[in-house]
């Protein structure tokens, strides 16, 4: 299969959108493109499975490698393993859902959908890149659309949030770039798989690992560089929030894994205590900060900080299971938080408020949306049957395998966050969904077909992953295995 | 001529250059500033001629260079004066301190 399709189709769709006339045409084109992309992603998944079962054990499949700037060692080198496919599927579902949720975006609809599709192209490209420079290219492609999406279509102090988000993410990619340069000047290659085979001296790794990890960490809301998350998410329009939390934060996690940890494993070992420290702080701190929020979007944004902490924690622990868990958590969090934002957006368009205190008893007037909200909440607090549980438990299980006592403590603290999560999710749900219905909200309507479909797609993903985790586990197994070969297993089991 | 060492000439030219520069920095009248620049150019001319004469008498690089400098200085002065005239038309002053509208 030609992986370039994954980049070309969003691009073509985005360009077609520019020729569309009026909201109706534009949204249909976007949806068609996104659905096509989702179809291709699923097809890719099937092909991948077929190839694997036929005994192909290459680390990367469907590889294409064309010289791009050959003089600089830059290649258009793409390929996928299970981790990338999981991410691609995540992206594809969130994109479809995002487009469906913005079905009635009348304000500059053409530009809106164009930017959404451009953003998704960046994410796809990022996930399939096997060349550091291409990867970096797509990472940055995904930044600017966010700025415009938040700044133009957002609400609240949108300009401030958009600027903060763009600048912090650019700072992140600046750090990534420095890390990347360090690797490049050491190995004279941008080829991730080739670099992995070369040995970078520990001293060099120690210098550049922090740059790469921190840079991607900013994308993944690593404490204390998470402050773009709450404001950015809160100000963004619904679809952009979904993209931000669902896709864009995953770029960071994926980068931490694929670039920082995979290429500089020794340094990852050396610095794991810092990573774990920051991740643990993010988890606990994010959870407690969420507890004090009164705006639904802020609640979800801070909870994203906390949840993305699990991703970082899983990577920092460096055991096969924990990295597995980190990947699972990325997918899970992407789906779940996108669903959450979708639900919040639906509520907001009807009630025109996101303040918990002003809402109440929505279950009575909009049972579907409320159910979606509750499902997202339950997934967020790690209920079995939904993806969050599988992911979090894998992270915990894997983290615990690391025999270091202090890391155990970190694991326990991370586990403790599930209680705090329960508190804030239930507080939010209890106040908004349950309780007496407000006078002004008695006449509101429930979800329309597009909203139902959007939520449905995400819920299917969440439930599928929660009920049949062995499927996705198999999918990402080989990929994680490749990374583990590089990292080496820290467990010294007797 | 033969008795004067190169360093003496260089002293003169350097002094001339510095005088010109001092004039450029302190004079407020644009024409005077232009004259100061001419002083500096001339000091360079002296340099070229002196170097040519004392050190590399077999080629005429330095002499030619100074001829070109003189030519260009003339062109420069012409344009500069034209600009100053126009400045006078718009500002009714050729004081350099009066033309500091654009700043920061």
């Amino acid at each position: 299969m030609n992986l370039s399709l994954l980049i070309i189709i969003p691009l073509l769709t985005a360009l077609l959108v520019l020729f569309g006339r009026g909201l109706k045409q534009v949204r249909v084109i976007s949806l068609a493109g996104a659905l096509l992309q989702l179809g291709i992603s699923v097809w890719l998944l099937l092909l991948y499975w077929q190839t694997r079962t036929s005994g192909n054990n290459e680390a990367m499949l469907f590889v294409q490698n064309h010289a791009w700037f050959a003089e600089l060692g830059i290649h258009y080198h793409i390929g996928v393993d299970g981790i990338s496919i999981a991410m691609i599927l995540l992206t594809a579902s969130v994109v479809v859902a995002g487009i469906l949720v913005s079905w009635n975006e009348t304000n500059m609809s053409k530009e809106f959908f164009f930017l959404l599709l451009l953003l998704s192209m960046g994410a796809y490209g990022f996930f399939i890149s096997l060349d550091l420079f291409t990867l970096f290219f797509f990472l940055e492609v995904a930044v600017i659309p966010k700025f415009l999406l938040i700044g133009v279509w957002g609400s609240g102090k949108k300009e401030y949030s958009a600027m903060k988000l763009a600048l912090m993410l650019m700072a992140g990619s600046a750090l990534v770039f420095v890390g990347m340069m360090g690797v490049y000047q050491q190995t004279h290659s941008f080829d991730i798989m080739a670099i992995a085979k070369m040995h970078i001296p520990l001293e060099v790794q120690k210098i550049f690992f922090p740059f790469a990890f921190l840079g991607f960490g900013i994308f993944a809301a690593l404490f204390p560089f998470h402050t773009w998350v709450p404001d950015g998410h809160a100000s963004a329009p619904t679809a952009a929030s979904m993209f931000l939390a669902g896709i864009s934060m995953k770029l960071g996690g994926y980068g931490c894994l694929r670039v920082a940890t995979f290429l500089m494993p020794d340094a990852a070992h050396a610095y794991s205590w810092i990573i774990i420290l920051l991740a643990t702080i993010a988890i606990i701190y994010g959870a407690f900060a969420t507890m004090m929020q009164t705006d639904l979007k802020y609640i979800n944004a801070y909870s994203s900080v906390s949840h993305c902490g699990f991703v970082i924690l899983g990577i920092g622990m460096l055991t096969e299971t924990s990295i597995n868990g980190a990947v699972l958590q990325m997918v899970s969090h992407g789906l779940m938080t996108a669903l959450f934002f979708a639900a919040i957006g639906m509520i907001y368009t009807r009630t025109h408020t996101r303040m918990v205190a002003q809402l109440g008893g929505l279950l009575k007037v909009m049972p579907f949306i409320s159910t979606v909200f509750v499902i997202a909440g339950l997934c967020s607090l790690g209920l079995p049957g939904f993806s969050g549980f599988v992911a979090e438990m894998t992270v915990f299980m894997g983290s615990w395998q690391n025999p270091n006592g202090w890391y155990r403590l970190a694991t326990i603290l991370a586990c403790a966050s599930i209680v705090v999560t329960a508190v804030y999710i239930l507080r939010a749900a209890g106040k908004t969904i349950m309780g007496p219905t407000g006078e002004t909200h008695q006449q509101l309507s429930d979800a329309s077909w597009n909203e139902k479909l959007a939520a449905g797609i995400l819920i299917v993903g969440i439930v599928l992953m929660g009920v049949a985790p062995f499927l996705i586990n198999q999918l990402i197994g080989t990929g994680v295995g490749t990374i583990m070969q590089q990292v080496g297993n820290v467990i010294t089991q007797k | 001529m033969q008795g004067i060492p190169l360093t003496h000439i260089l002293f003169v030219s350097t002094a001339l250059f510095l005088i010109g520069m001092y004039g450029l920095f302190t004079r407020r009248n644009l024409i005077t500033m232009l004259m100061s620049i001419e002083l500096m150019l001339n000091s360079v001319n002296i340099n070229f001629v002196a170097f040519n004469k004392y050190l590399y008498p077999d080629k005429l690089d330095g002499i030619f260079f100074s001829i070109f400098i003189i030519t260009i200085a003339a062109a420069e002065a012409a344009v500069a004066i034209a600009i100053i005239i126009n400045l006078y038309r718009t500002h009714t002053s050729i004081d350099v301190e009066d033309a500091t509208e654009m700043k920061y």
Binding site: M168, P224, H226, T227, P230, Y285, F288, A289, M291, M292, Q293, T321, N324, G361, L363, K364, P367, L378, L381, G382, L383, P384, G385, F389, V390, M393, T394, F396, M397, G398, W400, Q401, T411, I412, C415, I418, V419, A422, V423, L426, G430, I433, M434, G435, P436, P469, F470, N473, Q493, K494 | M21, L24, F25, T26, V96, E97, T100, M102, K103, Y104
Partner: protein, 642 residues
């Protein structure tokens, strides 16, 4: 040995019901949803009964020992090569016994709800949730993998949350459902960490293997876990205590019991099913499931014993002072579970000394019937009176004769009056306690008396006391409400006669128990005295109880206010966690972390305006800087930086 793999249909039927009703129930199936749920559960019940018959009477035994059979296993999630979550179906005495109890009581509740919840707008949703609960509980019961238990444990918790908050427009119901979920979640944290510990040292999540490894003293796993210590306590103790915390949370043991009384905000049949008969005994079941491992660690067994016995007493005292009938029942549940818990704590693994285990399971079994009977009876009463408070009741025996009889039988059973079911199981518990620890026995005995007292206080207050002054518009309720009451009455009266000890014991070997008349005399007479006292005080309206209450003064008030445990929790969360942790963090984030980023921006801007004078607009300055730049660079490069 035959194949038991069909057992997975037992949980799958309710699951299917849940899915169907959850997705289409509201719109399309509302009228028939009750029947649908009941029928599918009846199917499950039949299968369970069939399986129980097959296991206990046909082929469960091999060489005189009831076998532990893994009937079905399916790897659900692999963590590492030897640690994986397997969805499994395990067949052993306690799981089969629990299957019967859960499906049966659930069926009764389903039937009862047909009448009780009639006319409710969210009828289908109610049945969907009930099915979800039943599914989760059955999954928990059948689990052969410790993580599987955890999974269904959580699911049980959430269905309990959903059902407690069923009347979502009532703020108190919302609060209660949140409380239930969060408190049990807190306990589950202990369970989770306990699992992590056990799984790490045992290198497996499979209960059978884990038990095997951690009970043989020579195995490297046992040596590893017992040898490692943390804060002077062996890791085995840590792990088991943490697992026990999980169980204690779900089983409402002190001090994690605070959610149970509030949980009575849910519909009464739900209380009968979840908060009396099934879910709350999950903690007991968990300890029983891991009993061989628990029995390896004496200190944890002591912990279990004392927590259990204290909870039994504590709850009984509070129960005497409550006036909400469901709350009284809730505290009585807590007290009875305390019995089961300490019975486990004082038991041993093998032979006669395993009596406690058997007694605990037996009590669990009988308790399920009489407690659900009591709750359903209370439900019928509430259905009629539309109030939970005993002050609003009195003299109801004429209005609802069947309920009256049922309730009386229930009270006799729970008090331990022979030959009702509770007598036999409680008898065994007391015997076990007597042989182990006189102290525990004493408290248990006293608690038994208290139990009889408050149950009959309840009984007399509802059905006697004053004459019914007002007429009720309808009778006892529909047939569907009466039938379960009758069936459960029969069971509450007769279940104790079953030869339970032949089937369920700690080591799978049948044992014979005898009823020692001499031994029974003391508790029975003590109980009878308590019943008489209750009759004397509450049968007719008088001021004796009030006088006594004022005599007891502060003690009474403390008991009435549930010994201020709720207040302590509120203090910790409301006065410490929120203002002292949450708010500072939120402040820190808004002002310090965010402030740092904004400060960077401000500093840049400030610096920018600081150097703006450089660009002064005067061409002479420019030239000066130009020259100064060259001079500085020249100095730098000629003299300083070579």
């Amino acid at each position: 040995m035959s194949n038991y793999s069909y057992l997975y249909w037992i949980p799958l039927l309710p699951l299917a019901t849940f899915l169907v009703l959850g997705m289409f129930g509201r719109k399309y199936l509302s009228p028939i949803s009750g029947m649908l749920g009941t029928l599918s559960l009846a199917g499950s019940t039949l299968i369970s009964l069939f399986a129980a018959n097959q296991y206990f009477f046909v082929d469960g035994k091999m060489n005189g020992v009831y076998q532990k059979i893994t009937a079905f296993r399916f790897t659900w999630l692999t963590f590492s090569p030897n640690v994986s979550i397997d969805m499994s179906v395990i067949v052993d005495p306690i799981s089969v016994m629990m299957l019967v109890v859960v499906t049966f009581v659930s069926l009764m509740v389903h039937v009862f709800s047909l009448g009780y919840m009639k006319g409710e707008k969210r009828f289908a949703t109610y049945y969907a949730f009930l099915s979800l609960f039943t599914f989760s509980m059955l999954g928990l019961v059948l689990a052969g993998n410790i993580f599987q238990i955890y999974i269904f444990w959580e699911l049980v918790g959430v269905s309990s949350f959903l059902l407690i908050g069923f009347y979502f427009e009532k703020p108190s119901a919302v609060a209660a459902s949140k409380k239930a979920f969060i408190v049990t979640r807190f306990a589950d944290l202990g369970f989770l960490i306990g699992i992590l510990i056990l799984a790490f040292y045992g290198k497996t999540l499979d209960i059978g293997v884990l038990v095997e490894r951690l009970t043989s003293v020579q195995s490297p796993e046992y040596l590893g876990i017992a040898g490692a210590g943390f804060l002077g306590i062996s890791v085995l103790s840590w792990g088991l205590s943490l697992v026990f915390i999980g169980g204690a949370g779900k089983s409402a043991m002190f001090p994690l019991h605070i959610w149970l009384p509030d949980a009575m905000e849910g519909p009464t049949p739900v209380s009968a099913l979840i908060h009396a008969a099934t879910m709350v005994v999950a903690g007991v079941y968990l300890v029983a499931r891991l009993f061989p491992i628990f029995s390896m660690d004496v200190s944890v067994m002591h912990l279990i014993t004392y927590v259990g016995v204290f909870s039994a007493l504590f709850a009984a005292i509070i129960a005497c002072t409550q006036t909400d009938i469901k709350r009284v029942l809730a505290y009585s549940t807590m007290s009875q579970i305390g019995y089961m818990m300490f019975a486990l704590g004082i038991s041993h693994q093998t032979g006669e000394s395993g009596l406690g285990y058997m007694a605990s399971m037996f009590h669990l079994f009988t308790h399920a019937f009489f407690k659900s009977l009591l709750f359903l009876g209370a439900g019928a009463v509430i259905h009629l009176v539309h109030s939970n408070d005993m002050k609003d009741m009195g003299g109801l025996r004429k209005w609802m004769p069947i309920t009256h009889m049922a309730f009386l039988v229930g009270c006799l059973a729970i008090s331990g009056i022979p030959p009702f079911a509770g007598f036999f199981s409680k008898e065994e518990i007391l015997t076990a306690a007597f042989h182990n620890s006189p102290f525990v026995y004493g408290i248990a005995l006293f608690t038994a008396g208290l139990t009889a007292f408050y149950m009959f206080r309840l009984y007399f207050s509802i059905f006697w006391k004053k004459e019914a002054s007002h007429a009720y518009t309808h009778g006892e309720g529909t047939l569907t409400m009466k039938i379960p009451l009758v069936i459960l009455t029969i069971l509450a009266a007769g279940a104790g006669l079953l030869p339970f000890s032949r089937w369920v014991t700690a080591d799978g070997i049948s044992m014979e128990t005898h009823t020692d008349l001499l031994f029974s005399a003391i508790p029975v007479s003590f109980t009878a005295l308590a019943i008489l006292l209750a009759m004397y005080w509450y049968k007719n309206e008088n001021d004796k109880p009030a006088r006594f209450a004022s005599m007891a003064g502060g003690w009474y008030r403390a008991a009435h206010r549930k010994f201020y445990v709720d207040e302590i929790y509120l203090f910790v969360t409301g006065k410490i966690l929120f203002p002292l942790v949450g708010r500072p963090i939120a402040w820190f984030d808004k002002n310090i972390v965010d402030g740092c980023m904004n400060l960077l921006a401000t500093l840049t801007a400030r610096f920018s305006s600081l150097i703006k004078r450089w660009q002064s607009g005067s061409v002479q300055n420019y030239a000066l800087y130009f020259f100064g730049g060259i001079a500085a660079l020249a100095v730098l490069f000629i003299y300083l930086w070579k």
